[in-house]
Amino acid sequence: MNQDFRLDNVGLINRNKKISFKFNGKNYFGYEGDTLASALLANGVHLIGRSFKYHRPRGFFGAGVDEPYAIVQLYRNNETEPNVKATEQELFEGLEATSVNCWPSVNFDIGAINNLLKVFLPAGFYYKTFMWPKSFWYKVYEPFIRKAAGLGVASIKHDKERYEHKYEYCDILIAGSGPSGLASAYAAAKNGARVILAEDKPRFGGTLLTSEVNIGNQTGKEWAENIIAELKEMPNVIVRNRSQVFGYYDHNMLVMSEKLSDHLPKTKKYHPKQRLWYIRAKEVLISSGSIERPLVFGNNDTPGVMLSSAAKEYLKVYGVLVGKKPLIFTNNDSGYETAIEFKKNGIEPIILDTRKDPKSEIITEAIDLGIQIKFSYVVVAAKGYKKVKSAEIAKISDNKNELGTLENIDCDCICVSGFWTPTIHLASQSGNKTKFNKDIDAFVPGVSKQNETTLGAANGTFTLEETLKNSFNMGHELSKKITNIDNKVSSPLVTEKKSTQHDKFWCVPLPKGKTYKRFLDFQNDVAVSDVEIALKEGYRSIEHVKRYTTLGMATDQGKTSNLNGLQLVSNIENKIVPEVGHTTFRPPYTPVTIGAIVGRETGKHSKPTRKSPMHSWHAKNNAVFVDAGVWLRPRYYKQGSETLFEGSKREAKNVRKNVGLCDVTTLGKIDIKGPDAAELLNRVYTNAWLKLPVGKARYGVMLREDGIVMDDGTTTRISENHYHMTTTTAQAANILSHLEYYLQLVWPELNVNVVSTTEQWAGASLAGPKSRSVLAKLFPDIDVSNDGLPFMGYREGNLFGVKARIFRISFSGELAYEINVGSDNGNFMWEKIMEVGKEFAIQPYGTEALSTLRIEMGHVAGSELDGRTIPYDNSLEGLMSKNKDFIGKRSLNRKAFIAEDRQKVVGVVPLDKQTSIPEGSHLVMDANAPLPNPKLGYISASCWSVEHDNPFSLAILKDGKNMIGQKLFAMSPLKNKTIPVEIVSSHYVDPKGERARS
């Protein structure tokens, strides 16, 4: 049961529940409520990793989000996660973690040789060294850097965890549940505001959990617990722990990641691991507190050197002693609080205070308790390699430049306090121009940019009394503005010890003849000397210094190092800190799992899947599906062991010979109504539309204003002022937006309404020489003869009791009809047609056969209308009306568009009539020409012509008009093919289009 560094009766952990875990293969135990860090410290483990550059031993520096050292590879439920902060990871049964950035082990790390070579690894080392020769970069330098650098290892397995997204609106979002967060949340909630209170740690209360204060007649901790309990009961309040508000975006949108299962051995079935909240708040209260600043001295990265606030938190929250001979090194009163906690638990701390003669209540208390205090003293260097064994200390002169005689003092940890840095990240992300507060030597938020207000320590207010007063007021004031309610909660009486002024001193000078590294950034191994070199080499902007030295660029983003870096630059440059400025704070405040950002939009959920009403029939009949935009369409209906090639050929042949049925539900459909409908069509289509009679369809082409073909399709006049437009599957949504744009903005005088009816109609294309016989049996009441229902004719009919629309239009080039019924009857229609068509050898056909049919007919489609071609390129110039204006017409006379040798669609046949030409192949004159071989055109679509039984392709070819009969080469470097080809007409089958009209 013994843990050497665990105190009895202190802390908030649950001692009734032991939890076993493994670190670097060794078994340990901790308690429910421990973090991995506190449990390891309780077991006396201080060595947790190696540093990024020099591979120096790393221990624990903080107790939370600011931790720069204690980064581990975590194993949980057969998954692994890199770069987890041990100070944040809650202990769970069976947790396993290993050190990162060390090989072969954390105790003996070969990379530590860099530590001995550190004189050769100054700032900008990588930039300077890995420059020449250029050819070394990919093969030598990059692999070397990749191996040497890097922290954890990302899993390459599919993440089976579930992550959720949630959208929420509130009146007031409060980030942080310390004293200011609790007080403002309480005041606002009591005033009727809808409040969200977010706390990143498992426990609410922030510093109230560790400080010795009284609020009213309760301790700070009791007060926090009672307020939280009350808030949780209120219907207008959402309270979340383990939730980090990490980003402040435009228009008061904040994003918060809630860790729901990371603290459990495995995620419960159907539960998410994490939830990402998108919160739109009317007001934002930032109560994110402050982070203690390190003091800078020799070897200040040795395991055992840590923030004094962290030492206090380990003691008060987890009952863990970070050492038994603690040395407290402070420039302000906070270090005394830690010392007093040690003393109260039977440990004898020694305080080194950089100040000469400070006087305050808390110092008096420390003196009265008999704590040994050395004023005007500093730690010159920590001694010990894998753990602090002693410290070199010295008296420091009043001007802080001269060190007295060096003395050695025994200690097993050094708790440092260099005063406090407000956590201003969220305010800064909001766009707030921060200002420098000389009294606390740190930046605080300035004038609000969005609706953000910063409270408490985050705003540089370090006394509890003032914090609570301001926070109660602000919570009341802001909520009153929103709710118009005026329930005021009075601020309770506060008892706290008064502090005195801190010392601005933060960096211990090097004693003569010593070359100790004094670190600023602990994760990226950036020392004082590195910043000095960067400045000597001419770097001035703090943003440049940051990137050159990598100060503040590690996974902790410089939470403990930024301000000391700024102080150093300002000292050397002889500027004041605000002139140097700080680097930009960007979201996220802490690393966010990619899975949480992605949410549920993974795999098949990454986009919606649309299925036609006949989908289940297709599936039952062995359809092999293909993605067509967001739709699933049958590619071919597999018979036996048929391949795609064999199946699609069979289906296409059957259309040419008998009759086939194709699901064309996916085509975009737009219903157009109004007295000016014809005029609209006349403007958006290139051909003439004013004289289309009722009951007739017409093929039309639409251009963009720049003359590029946008889409094609048929539109049918259903009645006088009612048209039914079809678009290609891919462009359906864009065409609707396009029509709405012109109707609402450009020609609002046109009295027309448009609405998408794609989902309302199920469509089936009945194609082939026997399609008329099938149609006649389907609609015995209708005259389906060539005179009764001519090419491009339209009839309404009754399909066994179901209202149907019959369009005589053809994409396959055969005699063909498209039948539409309401979606609910789609399957009924399909089954009826298949049943009636049986005697005519009907077969369903998929998109592959559909492509084959249109390609050999020379009908252009998406692969030619690819957003780069004009009507002429697609041999559509005959549809450009000369008698009227239309969208894009003015662009068609551009010089390049009317060039004599303009590209045009052609047919391509391999000379051997055997080799299929890969789509995307380039057409060249000479296969052996030196590179770059001039490209004349490209293959846009390929098929196996079922009519001619040989390969056939369409191509967009320069001067295509005059190239018919030319012999060229199709080259596909990707497929390593060079195919001699002949250029033929794009209309390979039925060039006069007689079949469709027969």
Binding site: D250, H251, Y741, Q744, V746, R890
Partner: protein, 88 residues
């Protein structure tokens, strides 16, 4: 994510809208002579303003109305939103 006040529907998140470009561009009238320069200006030439910009948005996942928005391109502040047939 921006919060855009649709004049028809009220405040809505940006992900309900599609951006539609400069709202001050006027399409030349149909059947009228247009110089090459004017046509190029209509089709291609756009200012990339830093500051107040009058632009179009399409409420595609809402009322499907095109609206006009005045927005600061640097700060994303939205000053005004009006219906398609109103001047901004």
């Amino acid at each position: 994510m921006l919060h855009i006040k649709c004049p028809h529907c009220g405040m809505r998140s940006q992900n309900e809208f599609a951006y539609g470009g400069d709202a001050t561009i006027k399409r030349p009238e149909l059947n009228k002579e247009v110089s090459d320069q004017d046509w190029d200006n209509f089709i291609y030439n756009r200012k990339s303003l830093r500051g107040k910009h009058k632009e179009l948005w399409h409420h595609i996942s809402g009322c499907r109305q095109w609206i006009k928005v005045e927005r600061d391109t640097a700060t994303h502040e939205i000053f005004k939103t009006v219906k398609a047939n109103e001047e901004i």
